[in-house]
Subunit: 709 residues, 2 copies
Amino acid sequence: MQLATTTVYAIGLLTVILAFAYAGYLTLWVKKQKNENKTIERIAGLIRSGANAFMRKEYTLLAGFAGIMAVLIFLFLPKPVWQGGAERNLTMAIAYVAGTIFSAIAGKIGILVASLANARTAEAATHGIKPAFLIGFRGGAVMGLMVVGACLLGVMGVLLLTGNSSMLLGFSFGASSLALFAKAGGGIFTKTADVSADLAGKVELGIPEDDPRNPAVIADNVGDNVGDVAGMGADLFDSNIASMTAALVMAVSLDGGIVNGQFGSKVMMVIIYSALGLLSSLIGIFTAKIGDHGSPTKALNNSTYVTTGVFLALTALATLLFKDFSWRIWGASAVGLLVGVIIGLATNYFTDDNAPIVGKVAHASKTGPAFTILSGVSYGFMSVLPAMVGIAISAMVAYKLCEPIGPGYAMYGISMAAVGMLSIVGMIISNDAYGPIVDNARGLAEMGGLGEETIRVADELDSAGNTVKAVTKGFAIGAAGLTVISLLGAFMSEVNAHIEEINVGLAAAGKELMALINGFDIMNPTVFFGIIVGAAIPAVFSAMLILGVDKNAQRMISEIHRQFKEIPGLAEGRPGVEPEYNKCIDIATTGALKELIPAGLMAIVATLAVGFIGGVNAIGGFLLGNIISGLLLALFMSNAGGLWDNAKKYIEAGNEGGKGSDSHKAAVIGDTVGDPFKDTAGPSINTQITVVSLVASLVAFIFINLHIF
Amino acid sequence: MQLATTTVYAIGLLTVILAFAYAGYLTLWVKKQKNENKTIERIAGLIRSGANAFMRKEYTLLAGFAGIMAVLIFLFLPKPVWQGGAERNLTMAIAYVAGTIFSAIAGKIGILVASLANARTAEAATHGIKPAFLIGFRGGAVMGLMVVGACLLGVMGVLLLTGNSSMLLGFSFGASSLALFAKAGGGIFTKTADVSADLAGKVELGIPEDDPRNPAVIADNVGDNVGDVAGMGADLFDSNIASMTAALVMAVSLDGGIVNGQFGSKVMMVIIYSALGLLSSLIGIFTAKIGDHGSPTKALNNSTYVTTGVFLALTALATLLFKDFSWRIWGASAVGLLVGVIIGLATNYFTDDNAPIVGKVAHASKTGPAFTILSGVSYGFMSVLPAMVGIAISAMVAYKLCEPIGPGYAMYGISMAAVGMLSIVGMIISNDAYGPIVDNARGLAEMGGLGEETIRVADELDSAGNTVKAVTKGFAIGAAGLTVISLLGAFMSEVNAHIEEINVGLAAAGKELMALINGFDIMNPTVFFGIIVGAAIPAVFSAMLILGVDKNAQRMISEIHRQFKEIPGLAEGRPGVEPEYNKCIDIATTGALKELIPAGLMAIVATLAVGFIGGVNAIGGFLLGNIISGLLLALFMSNAGGLWDNAKKYIEAGNEGGKGSDSHKAAVIGDTVGDPFKDTAGPSINTQITVVSLVASLVAFIFINLHIF
């Protein structure tokens, strides 16, 4: 069967409408659930307004940032506007702004639903695990469906309106800008609040977690929403857009362009695969069920497996139906998906509390905190091996599978492996957003005094969230790895497109032509220079974010001390006395955004500096170095952080001395170190790599023309 | 002036004789110093015999290992022996064994003199800083002169006897094998003892550092000798040999071989530069002086600067005199040396207690140990930037400087930058070995009851050792970075030499020729596969070593507890009651060697696996990934460890609450985490990279013929 471009658009649009409709239905369903407890409603209201305050401030700042960026893009990208092409530059600037807006809306809606779902999940937990699970899960699913639907809609929109795949780089860069704010900023916010609440509350003052006397407790719950719901959503929105963009830039080049608005088969394949991925996630979400005494972990994992299976079947069917679709490319995306599962399982081995490693770290904690740290760092280092080998193998297999199709197909194959890994991103986001919702619900159950049994149910839901998070995080990092590899391919495509254009002019003037770039040789000193500098950037970026949390937490802890000293009756818990929650939220918000900007700028400035020193060759190396060390550090920090978190929980469950023992104190220190590792720096590195890769592609033309060596 | 090969040999040999003679004189001088305190002599004797016990066990194990390796080398390297060339393989095996023996002897002599010097330094400290400094420094200088002399002698010997630069790879591999045992094994030993002595002694039992009741205290002092003297010596012996080997392999290829035993000018240049480096170190050592109340830090740094200046002047003179020597190559090695100084200064900024960063980590410790760790990790991450940018720039400048000379010269230029950086290695080793000698002296002064004033003098000497260590460590890591880059060049040279040889056969058979390797393209999936896997190895290797220290320390702490429980009168310090020091030394020795072997094998097996999967392209990538992540982690761990150590000392000097405060406790935890970072894993990564690079070059022929992809 032959596919027409209009059919592709129709299929894509239909899936998006279906996803949005289902998300709308789920939102109404969640809203309809019981929400009658006054205390909970009041506290949930505080959390909601705190989250809104952060988002408002963040979006205001972002609007300014995006405005400046849009002007710069108009002036310089893809080519300086005074060299002609003002319309093209304007389109790029608009695509950029659109990228930020799409991502912002998807995040906003996710937060909205999550903050509706948390209170209702808490209340439903009084009736058992079954109803509570469903509310938590469906609240998260809205985010998943919205984000992926918005991705597909945005990408199709840009293609339809501009007919130029380079404009997708602008759109994707917009999404990355937002992700940088949302993920890194949200990450600093959430860990500032978490660390301060724990240190000042649990450790110093000896009051329980989620105690309403703690001034940081609302900020902590707000953090779950802005860091883990909105931030994670923006992050995966960004990864998903970036993987589609990389695939489409190469697809368009393989198809020989988008002629008269008609897609070639490669472009069609990317869009159809993405649409089928969204459909599969929808089906997976639909099938998520749990019995009266069922295991929420199993329910979450099962729907992930359903999504995976449906995606493989549907794409196989599509490949069977449409004669232009290649089985080799299907193979590449299947390999991506399967390796994603393997990486997830390996991550699980290192971080799950039923697996041996968590027990070892807990045991080491008996000798003191230094050994908690040393063993966690060590196993964190070890955990990078399976994931990196998995990424290496999937990239090589995808390449080798697609190489025989023809020149240029190999890198396209890798990008389709990334699209395959990210196909189930709707499901991943659902599972991920489920986590903070039930985490909040647990807090609300405690603060609302819903009783031991309800807290136990909420704890079970929460623990399931942590376990599946490890698996989905494996997917996210694996996919990011493949995506940035294909962004390297996209960068080379862009560079060569520019060189060909320049050569037309040179040929007309009878001058010597520029050579196309065939690759980046590590024995070339300019490439090598780029590699080494690029490798240092994720380390510096992580350091800046962690120090940001550190500084910000110091400020918040001082504020907590002040409140306990100055507000009469607060420490004793006199009825009616409440801490000034807003002060803590303010500190977290202002500090997070203040600490984030230098880190983001550092990465961008380093890219520009390397490009102006060594040109496109240095940038090719720079991207590679950035990817390698970024993957290494992101995996290390995410896994070590998860490991410490679960080692602490393992001890709290009564092992190695249990709660209050010296090993518990050591494990709490480990967990505090791990918090910014796993929730601030680790996951922000993905975004940093994407931003840097996109900047490189966007500024490619200027680097070709202007560099020292 | 034209140089003859015999003149080059004569200059080299004369320098070696001069160095050995001066070392002999210094040994006699040290021996002549007063050594009359009975207690000190008895304890020094215990340390000496403990060190000997470790060395004996280590060398026995190594002899077995080297024997097996020699047989394997004879069977397989450079080509399987059944394909002919038994004599060549035998020579390679002998060169390998010679490499281990040379390094072992140099290490043994260093330990011997160091363990003579420590007691005498302690005693001299009763008379002030001037005499004590001189004994400590001259004791260390013996090690420096012996190691560098042995390097030059060995390399010249191999060239003279075999006339084949490939045999240097075998010799260098022998040195690396020993370095792996000495550095990683010694590193595990020393940190096992240090951590256990501190934790069980200072923290749990509340007895002071170096208290003779502590059963681990002798093991701790033994550790300083076997880890920091012998291990560091073997490590720098290895780096120096490797840098000379890499330069010589490329030099021989540029010279068109060693024809009739006559060197070309490139080979001459490497040997002359190395000889002049040794001579400069000798002059630097000779000029080391200190006033009655002078600063030992200044004295150490001054002699480093003297060495640097003399080297630059002498090599410039040589370039002026000999018409075949190129100013561009002189420039490359000067750049290497200067960047080494810059890296050293940058390292100093991050770890020196007079610089701001140490104060910040100390301040963060006030909030608790989690913040000690988080801020140390962050600044550790940041500290990689200047060093990596320095290495990147020096490699690029050296390359660009030497590229115009002709094809192949650029990589040779990088190798000469490494030779330049390592030219002053004799001085570096002297400074480095000075550290543990005065550290031991401090312990002996305390255990021998020499009084407060003597301990203060010893402390001042010790602190100078720590400060200059940061600078010399910067040199060592920078040089290792450049060396492994040039080993990558050497690997490509070797591969192409094999391919040319294979092509002769193919041409004779009328078959299609194999293409030479021009470089390694990161867009080639096989190269990329290698890069990602290679990047994971240093992380896993470090993890295995740190866990080794961890496990081993657990064993030793149990033993300390047992002794305090079972030996009557030990805890109270009843006169005449002594702990069983030997039990602790045994545990450290056995454990260190047991934990080290899997880590070393893992790195070698991974290299072979990648080579058999992806052939020489994958190995090219593998080496790059290994270098990048190895540099990153080595810098991070060394600097973070040094930073924590000095933050603790800064607090102990009375800042941020001083000794015994909560911030001090937090800083001690940071220091314990940092110990295996900076003295076990961090510096062992250099050796791991060198081993892997040499294995790759040695097995290149087999990889060319046998691989899956």
